[in-house]
Amino acid sequence: MAEFKEVSPNASAGEKLTNWFENRFPSAFSAYRIHMSEYYAPKNFNFWYIFGSLALLVLVIQIVTGIFLVMHYKPDAALAFASVEYIMRDVPWGWLIRYMHSTGASAFFVVVYLHMFRGLLYGSYRKPRELVWIFGCAIFLVLMAEAFMGYLLPWGQMSYWGAQVIVNLFSAIPFIGPDLALLIRGDYVVGDATLNRFFSFHVIAVPLVLLGLVVAHLLALHDVGSNNPDGIEIKGPTAPKDAAGHPLDGIPFHPYYTVHDIFGVGVFLMVFSAIVFFAPEFGGYFLEYNNFIPADPLTTPLHIAPVWYFTPFYSMLRAITSEMMYALILCVIAGALLGVLKGKLAGLFKAAIVGGAVVVSALMLAIDAKFWGVVVMGGAVIILFFLPWLDHSPVKSMRYRPTWHKYLYAVFVIVFLILGYLGVQPPSPLGERVSQVGTLFYFGFFLLMPWWSRLGEPKPVPQRVVFAPH
């Protein structure tokens, strides 16, 4: 047991109370110091650094509104749709709680996509922050599962057919697929059993995993320290420090960034409230119109599309036709040839590459394009996990990368947005071609990164962060 600290008998009641607690629960006080009052964050954060805090805020909104929705919602195929309408019409202020939850889901993805793009811009995933990035990608993946399962609960047409399509993705896996899909659905078609288990996952299992990952993400971040728009380490051995050993380019998170983030929260809540009150359906993008029709297992709506935040990946799924498979096989062969001719690898390793490419090409011919569509869609998310090892640029931040890197990132963003747009459109021959090109670009961007990120002359990186006091 630690030493008991004594305060002077003349101290104020507040000081005595604090001392009483500090002697009995010191870890709360040290946690406050480590994560708030003595967590030094770089002083040159710009507006891109607001989205982490905002993601935490949206998480809280989702948990709180979710708790209240569960009080009125009924996870039963016969009652679910009506219970959501009951919340909307009869529960006092139920409509507001529900719209906050449905808008919160889209807001979560807006904020998380921007947060991830910030990481991409400033190289925040680079050493020593690989695990911070990996936990973040895991949060993104789990968030997708959470959103997907939550979308089934209103039991509308889009809920039903969306779940039908996504669960059937798993049945495309050779050999185990059909049984796996059966295990997920708990019935031969999406039904009451599916709704009940998705409810359980959505309100208990996945949020617990999500919270655990958020804690890991933040602890790992606070261990290695935040990156900044200049990509310079403010806590490194050569970084300038004051007499107490605190970085000169850092400021304590509290009060500086708490105040900064509260401003961001204010702006965010203005936009959020405007959507909740004036456009909760957001033109059919946040709440799809077909979802106001109760689920009907006998008719698929004429046009079904996932909610906007899944559409870039959904486009990539649709892009994989049997024709596209030949293009992909060519890519595999070209990749293997490049690895053998250009790679500085041992002979055995090169033989393994050739063998692997032959096996993969054979499988690509043997197994249906449908399965590979699923692989591509999953791979588009999984590839993000490997970003720390794909980027070989000598500098972290976009600010000091060759100018053409900026254009390349701009094209990447545009391609991602186009893929997202095509994902909400009905299938068309032109859209299919464009999404195929987009899919190849998306994967090329990441898979060729070890090559292109080394090219070009980086600009000189300053010793201290660039910061102009306002």
Binding site: R185, G186, T300, E323
Partner: protein, 198 residues
Amino acid sequence: MSDSPVDTSKRTWIITSGCVGAVGAGFAAVPFVSSFQPSERAKAAGAAVEVDISTLKPGEKVTVEWRGKPVWIMRRTPEQLETLKKVEGELADPQSARTAFPTPEYAKNVHRSIKPEVFVGVGICTHLGCSPSDKFQAGPQPSLPDNWQGGFLCACHGSTFDLAGRVFKNKPAPDNLEVPPHMYLSDNKLIIGEDKKA
């Protein structure tokens, strides 16, 4: 803490008991994972469905529910049956030879049905399980090729099927629409879910 070295014999037992514990945890997971399987009630549901098709006019289609899935029964016109031969070259599996959704022997023919005009098929796309919509009108229209002869379009991912539920080439769906086991009890009485073999 003593300064004596690690007792390796104890470590062996720690590893052994750890492994035994892991096996126990594996066994404990069985009931939980098993509970994901369809319940006995879900397995019991799925009785055969009887349909009277006497009122079905040529060119009409009805949908009935069998095992929670839509089953289509369509009486095709002679002109519609003609189109089946025309499109044969554009199909992925015109002979229904693939085995992922095995076509029953009695439907392994060009019209994929027992009676040439009456098509019975599960209206669930073999790609990802949407229910395709009717596109019986021939000719160019959105999402369809210009030489469209009439058939079904799955709006989800653009797979197209002819009027015998056969999938066109180079579409996301790999298989023809499933033909459920079915037989005629009388000329106009159809039972879906049972056939003569069963």
